[in-house]
Structures are given as C-alpha cells and as structure tokens.
C-alpha cells in the first residue's frame, strides 16, 4: 500500500491519518480530521461568504452539497469567481478511475456536484476515465479496463450531463498529440524524488506508476484539448474532486506557472461515509458498506436497516432521555447529503437529537430519499446506449459549450 505524504516523519506515520489517491484511513478513533487535512494540504475552507457569492453569481440556490459543507475546501475558487464576474469563462475537469463496474453513491457525489456546476455556470466539462491507471494499479488487463471505462461512462452520463457541453475520454483512447505534449512538459518539471515524496512511490513500484501523474495533471490545461479550446489558451480550469486527489493537483499547480499555464483551481469534498460509520471512505469491495446504483428498493431498505450505523441509544427510554448522537449517526449524515429540503433536515435533526424521533423513523425517511435517487439514476442509466457513449466520447467540437 502506498505510504503517506509525511514520509520524512517516519515515526509519526503510524499515528497519522493517511489520505492519498490510493489509500484513505483515519487514525485512532476512526474519524478523518478534515481541519488537519486542510492545514496539512494547504487548501482553504469554503465559508458562508463564498457560498453566498456563488448564489449571487449564478442566480440560483447553491447546491445542497455546498450548503451542507460536503464540498468544503478549495484552492483559488475565488479567482475563478473573480474571472467569471469579469465575463471570463472557465471549464470543468473531473474524472473517474474505472476499477469496477459497481458504482456506489459515494462515486456519484462528485459527478452530481459537477453537473450542478455545469448548469449553474454554463460551462463545458471534460471527464477523464483513467483506465490506464487502473490497469497499472489494480493489475487488470487493458481490455478489461477499457470495458469498465465505457460501463462507468454510462453511469456518469446518467447523472445528467449535457452532451453538447461534455467531453468524456479514456486515457487509452485519447493520450497522444497535444495531450501527450503537455504530459512531457509536465513530466520534465517533476523530479523522481518529488514524485516519490508526493505519492510515496518506492523502488519496487513499476515505471508505469511513476510516470502516471502527468496523465492526470494535463487535463487542467486547455491546450490539451485542441478540438475544444483551440485559441483559448487562457481558459481557466476548475476541478471538483474528493480531497484525496489533492496531491495530483498540488503537483500540477506547482508545475503550471513554470510552463506558462494558469494554475487549475480546485473545489474539494469530504469522503462519503461508509454505512458502518466514519472509518474512512466506502469500499467497492465490501457490498454492505455502500448503497450501489444497482441496488433495488429492497436492497436499500435492507442495507440501511441492518448496516447503517445508528447514533440512537440502546433502549427507547434512554433514547427519549438523551436523544441521538448526531455526530456518529450515519442516516443523519446521509440525509445531509441527499435530503434537499433544509427545513425538513433541520427538523429531523432537532427531533432526533432531542430523542423525540426514533432511529427507525429517520431510517425510513432516508430509505425513501435514497430509493427515489437510485430509481431516477437507474432510469436515466437505462436510456444510455452504446451510441450515446460514443457520442460523448467522440473527439468533436462543442460549439455551444458556453451557452
């Protein structure tokens, strides 16, 4: 397993929480300390002022993930908004490592938020499917990764992206040309020592892994996509992602000015908690740690009722007396991700926290919300054909991408 960023402090390693693109684990009591993470990574917290600014600029209520602090950290988001106010557009860049066919709700979070950003700011989006990365890290065959990439693309498309403003590409298909030229430019600026320091590579890691980071870096530069942004070398990039991807973009931001490009801006999210509690992020290998987009209403009901970690007390009397522990209660956490109505969520939290609402009732509401979400996703997914995937992945101009 890859080691943590703080390789210099070997002794502290064991007690530190580990957050990098390939491993996320908390220390001690099991909860990720996000304040410490922000501190260590050096990004900013998103505050209410920033959220209000987004509201003003987009003339629509900010996305539920912003309101509830799911997307909670950023780098240079203010600069993006400044430019936007001046009439300068930007483009969005996000991605997925297609290591499995089964997507869970945690996987959808960045895509749901990116779709909101696309709609609110009316900007184009590139989505990178890092099939090469998974081929290298998960030791899957090239063909299998390409297949998974296309399957995942269907779920991504089902999130509701606009085909006239979205370009999805797989590394195996797209790397080359202008994209590769940028990869080399970036690679030249990052020493072996540096990349080992950032990602924790060792001498036993194969050279594929060590030379991968530029692949994920260069979609941040508009001239990697000549068919989309030719003539717009100045276009800024905003990257919505989960905070464990930060190392890639710290590296990118370090390199960008050296090769004459804008630094990409980032907007980062927390980890979606596993059903069993806040011990890290959901794992695709444990089916009961997550709600999958292929789960039936019955599965969802069963999983929430059986596995969702509850902050309720052991007995009804104790519960009515002390109220629920909202800090660790998973159903409340999930509702704060997916229950759109602020007033209703507030009410549930109050009643549950005071012990007047029981765990079963909260879980019931959650099951409703999730079932509707998964249902809608499944329906949209069913309408995605292979031809539609081809259309999204075709190297084609997007003339209306800023409309």
């Amino acid at each position: 397993m890859e080691k943590t960023n703080a390789r210099e402090d070997e002794k502290e390693e064991v007690e530190e929480q580990v957050v990098n693109p390939w491993e996320v684990s908390a220390k001690g009591d099991g909860k990720i300390d996000y304040d410490k993470l922000i501190d260590k990574f050096g990004c900013q917290r998103i505050d209410q002022a920033l959220i209000d600014r987004v509201h003003r600029l987009t003339s629509r209520p900010p996305h539920v993930f912003l309101r509830r602090g799911v997307f909670f950290a950023h780098r240079d988001f203010n600069e993006i908004l400044d430019a936007y106010e001046r009439g300068e557009k930007f483009y969005l860049y996000t991605g997925r490592g297609p290591s499995s066919e089964a997507l869970h709700l945690g996987h959808l979070v960045p895509f749901m938020f990116t779709k909101y950003l696309q709609d609110a700011f009316k900007v184009p989006l590139v989505i990178q499917l890092t099939d090469d990365e998974k081929c290298m890290w998960k030791n899957l065959s090239v063909e299998e990764c390409q297949r998974l990439a296309r399957e995942n693309a269907k779920d991504i498309i089902a999130c509701g992206f606009d085909v006239t403003k979205t370009f999805i590409f797989s590394d195996f298909d797209y790397v080359g040309g202008a994209f590769y030229k940028n990869m080399v430019r970036v690679a030249k600026c990052v020493t072996y020592n540096k990349v080992v320091g950032i990602f924790g590579f060792t001498a036993e890691d194969h050279i594929g892994k060590i030379s991968f980071p530029p692949v994920q870096a260069v979609p941040s530069f508009p001239n990697s996509f000549p068919h989309l942004f030719s003539g717009k070398d100045d276009l800024r990039c905003l990257i919505p992602c989960a905070i464990d991807q930060d190392p890639y973009f710290r590296m990118t931001r370090d390199v960008a000015p050296r090769i004459g490009y804008h630094k990409p801006a980032l907007i980062e999210s927390l980890f979606f908690p596993a059903l069993q509690g806040e011990t890290g992020k959901m794992s695709a290998s444990d089916p009961n740690s997550a709600i999958y987009v292929t789960d039936s209403g019955k599965d969802i009901k069963n999983k929430i009722n059986k596995y969702a970690f509850s902050g309720g007390r052991d007995s009804i009397e104790l519960h009515r007396q002390l109220g629920a522990n909202l800090e660790v209660d998973i159903p409340i956490k999930y509702l704060s991700f997916f229950l759109e109505d602020d007033a209703e969520l507030q009410h549930i939290k109050e009643e549950y926290g005071a012990g007047r609402l029981l765990t079963g009732e909260v879980k019931k509401r959650l099951i409703e919300v999730l079932t509707e979400l998964v249902e809608r996703h499944r329906r949209a997914r069913a309408a995605v054909t292979d031809e539609m995937v081809d259309a999204f992945m075709a190297v084609r101009p997007l003339p209306n991408m800023f409309n």
Binding site: D162, G297, E375, R376, A382, T385, E387, A394
Partner: protein, 320 residues
C-alpha cells in the same frame, strides 16, 4: 370483442399458412387433448398464462415434457426475483387473452387486449415437424410448423422468442437475467387488482419497479450490444419507442406526472386549508417536486436526439 376461432382460421388461410385442424370434444388439459390428437404425430403444447407482481403478463408455451420451474428459474431469468412469477387469475384470462379456461394459446395474442403480453416459446418446438395449439377454442386443435406460427406472429407485429426453458443460468450482480428483454415494457392494468394510486412515478409505461433493477439495465445493455454488432441502424432488435426519442410519449409522461401530482394534492383537506390560494400552492409544489425529475428526463431526451444525429452523421471506426 375477442377474435373467434373462425376469424383466426380465416386469417391463417389469408396468410397462406399450412395447418391441419382437428375437432374434438372440449378439452381442458394436455392429457385430455392427447387422447384425441396425440396419435397424429407432432408435438402437443402446454401453455401457461402467467403474471408478475407488476401486473405484466406472459404466455409460456412449451413441449409437454419440458420441465418448467416458474418460481426459482424463470422468474429469476426474467429479472423478477424468486417467486415473482405466478399463474394469472381467471379474470385475466378472459379480460386479456379472451379465451376460455384451458385454452391458453399463442394465437390469443391476436387480440388487441393482449398487446402487452410477452410470449416465450420452447426452443424444442423448432425441432418438431409440427406442433398442436388451440385456435382460441378448446374444441379444436390445429397443428402447424412453428415457422408458420412465427409467420403469424410477425403478421400481428409480434416477435417470436424461442427460449431454452429448462436452462438454469445463474443470475447475479455480474450476470444479468438472460430473459430480461422479454419482460413487457407496458403493463396491463386490470380493473380490480390494487395499483398504487396516484403514484408520483407517473405512467407504468417504461416504469422500472424497485424489484427489477437489473431487468431494465440488462435490457438496454442487450439492445445496444445487438445494435453495436450490426453497425447499420436497421438492427436485429426491434426499436422500442420510449419517452426519450418520441416527443409524443415524452410530453405524455410529463403531463402524466404533473396531473398525477395535481390530483394527489387536491383533497378536501388542502382545499379547506388553502382555499383560493390552493392553485398557487400546488403550482409551487409542482415546480419544487418535479423540477429535478423533469429536467433529468429532458436532458436524456436531448442527449438521445444528439446521439441519433451523431450516429447518422459520423462513422466511428472500431476501437483498437
């Protein structure tokens, strides 16, 4: 009113379909039928009329010796879970197939009322010289080669789906139910059985229930796999119109969802509560509740249209 035996026989003649007809006393079972026509060579058929929990109907027509496991095998293969398939009630026989008891037959699909019924034919029929079916009445059996049955089905706009009914492939997360494409896309609502009133999910056309997740996904995967192998758009799989490429259906669905929401919201209570303001309140509610869902529908509609244009306009070389 349903087709009569004579009307059916005339139809078959018009289509130049070769068949032999045998009259006999009314029979209600294969055994009884066998007493009269079993010696004539050719295979008899056992025909079951089934329904699933979502009020979708199926005719399974098989050789008498073919083992059928409705609950554990067929139900799963159709993506209905275990025990999702059961015998249809007598009323359904009359309402939908419009044939008497003991007379289930593929020919019943000629009736408009059976338009949404899915037909599963035993693969074994294909090897037979001729097979016996009831021509909408129990006092006669007709024998014909299944190729001619196919011809008839085609003439009424139905596809023949031959299935190895005894096969028991495993169904799981990575192996979608292999018969999922045979689940009807529209469900038939009988007057009596309980249907979820004013469901906010809108019409049952293209409705995917909670219990059949893999069915629809498998459906679309199966369909698109077919169209990908046959590069031209006149694919082997019949195109199913959906709300996503058919403006009329699209609008119908939107109006259905909206009116269903309006109707749920207008109750004695709400009228009392809001009085004259009810209109504004409901209008607000519609906006809030349906916006996301309708937007999702519209986006898929847009993406589908773009894709069709894209396919028409480009040629994508096979991926290396």
């Amino acid at each position: 009113m349903g087709y009569s035996k004579d009307q059916l026989l005339t139809r078959l003649q018009e289509l130049h379909i070769d068949f032999a007809q045998y009259e006999h006393p009314v029979v209600l079972t294969v055994e009884a039928q066998a007493k009269h026509v079993g010696h004539l060579g050719g295979a008899l058929s056992k025909n079951l009329f089934l329904k699933d929990k979502k009020n979708r109907f199926y005719i399974v027509s098989a050789l008498p010796n073919t083992k059928l496991d409705l609950k554990a095998v067929l139900s799963q293969r159709l993506g209905l879970g275990k025990g999702g398939l059961r015998m249809a009630p007598e009323e359904a026989l009359q309402e939908i197939l419009q044939v008497p008891l003991g007379c289930v037959t593929p020919f019943a699909l000629v009736n408009e009322s059976a338009r949404h019924v899915s037909l599963l034919l035993d693969q074994g029929f294909k090897a037979q010289e001729c097979c016996f079916f009831h021509p909408l009445a129990n006092d006669m059996s007709i024998s014909l080669n299944v190729r001619d049955l196919d011809k008839f089905l085609k003439s009424i706009g139905k596809d023949s789906s031959y299935v190895d009914l005894e096969a028991n492939p495993s169904v799981g997360k990575d192996q979608p139910p292999d018969l999922a494409t045979l689940v009807p896309s529209g469900s038939t609502v009988l007057p009596d059985p309980p249907e979820r009133a004013a469901s906010l999910q809108g019409p049952t056309e293209n409705y995917v229930s909670d219990n059949q997740p893999t069915a629809v996904t498998a459906k679309s995967v199966k369909q698109s796999n077919n169209t990908q192998n046959v590069k031209d758009k006149t694919a082997t799989v019949p195109h199913q119109t959906s709300s996503f490429d058919n403006p009329e259906q699209f609008v119908e669905e939107i109006l259905d969802k909206t009116s269903s929401l309006v109707l749920t919201e207008i109750t004695e209570e709400t009228i009392k509560q809001h009085g004259e303001q009810l209109g504004a309140v409901i209008s607000d509610k519609i906006r809030k509740r349906l916006f996301t869902e309708l937007k999702s529908l519209a986006t898929t509609f847009k993406n589908t249209a773009y894709t069709e244009g894209f396919c028409a306009g480009t040629y994508q070389p096979k991926r290396a």
